[in-house]
Amino acid sequence: ELKVEQNPLFLSMQEGKNYTIYCNYSTTSDRLYWYRQDPGKSLESLFVLLSNGAVKQEGRLMASLDTKARLSTLHITAAVHDLSATYFCAVDMMETSYDKVIFGPGTSLSVIP
């Protein structure tokens, strides 16, 4: 059974600081997604990572994937208040006939001015 873990679950950081959120998963997969959820809102796709060594960047966020280590990271550079949200990673189990995507528990990020 695929398990997806995130670390930390809660993160409070000051504006201007850097930090990394980790996503570990328990079985082989080379498709991983990062989503953002604002309070009271639905999920919004941030990154799609499709192969070992994949790196994607959007503004102050950078995501990477190491399929051998079964690890993805979401790095935040010089955090700003607008990045406060909950971040989820999700792993595609890639079943033979359909996609089954399992989500991590989420990391609640609060950026303090």
């Binding site: 997806v4 679950l9 498709r31 997604y33 989503y35 809102k41 639905s42 999920l43 919004e44 796709s45 799609v48 499709l50 989820f88 999700a90 006939s97 359909y98 996609d99 089954k100 995507v101 399992i102 989500f103 991590g104 528990p105 989420g106």
Partner: protein, 114 residues
């Protein structure tokens, strides 16, 4: 833009009622999903469908059923609502199986069972 629309933002139902949650997507996606979201548990997959009339159980299907009679519409049914089904329900769709594409989510339905 892909649009996934859920029929209600908030619902309050009584224990034992039959509850229908509707979801419609407008991008001709083949895959559709129902998740529930609870604090500390993330999103858990209830059911998904990869084609019309096709369905697969997710991780927590007990107490739920689904229907997909048309490609754009995926319904979640609570046959007899119980208080432990109080939750946020999220519908999502994605292009097709094997495509390297992310899922697009609806705005969510917050269901309270009293």
């Amino acid at each position: 833009d892909v649009k996934v629309t859920q029929s209600s933002r908030y619902l309050v139902k009584r224990t034992g009622e039959k509850v229908f949650l509707e979801c419609v997507q407008d991008m001709d996606h083949e895959n559709m999903f129902w998740y529930r979201q609870d604090p500390g548990l993330g999103l858990r997959l209830i059911y998904f469908s990869y084609d019309v009339k096709m369905k697969e159980k997710g991780d927590i299907p007990e107490g739920y059923s689904v229907s997909r009679e048309k490609k754009e519409r995926f319904s979640l049914i609570l046959e007899s609502a119980s208080t432990n089904q109080t939750s946020m329900y999220l519908c999502a769709s994605s292009l097709y199986t094997g495509a390297y594409s992310e899922a697009f989510f609806g705005q969510g339905t917050r269901l309270t069972v009293v």
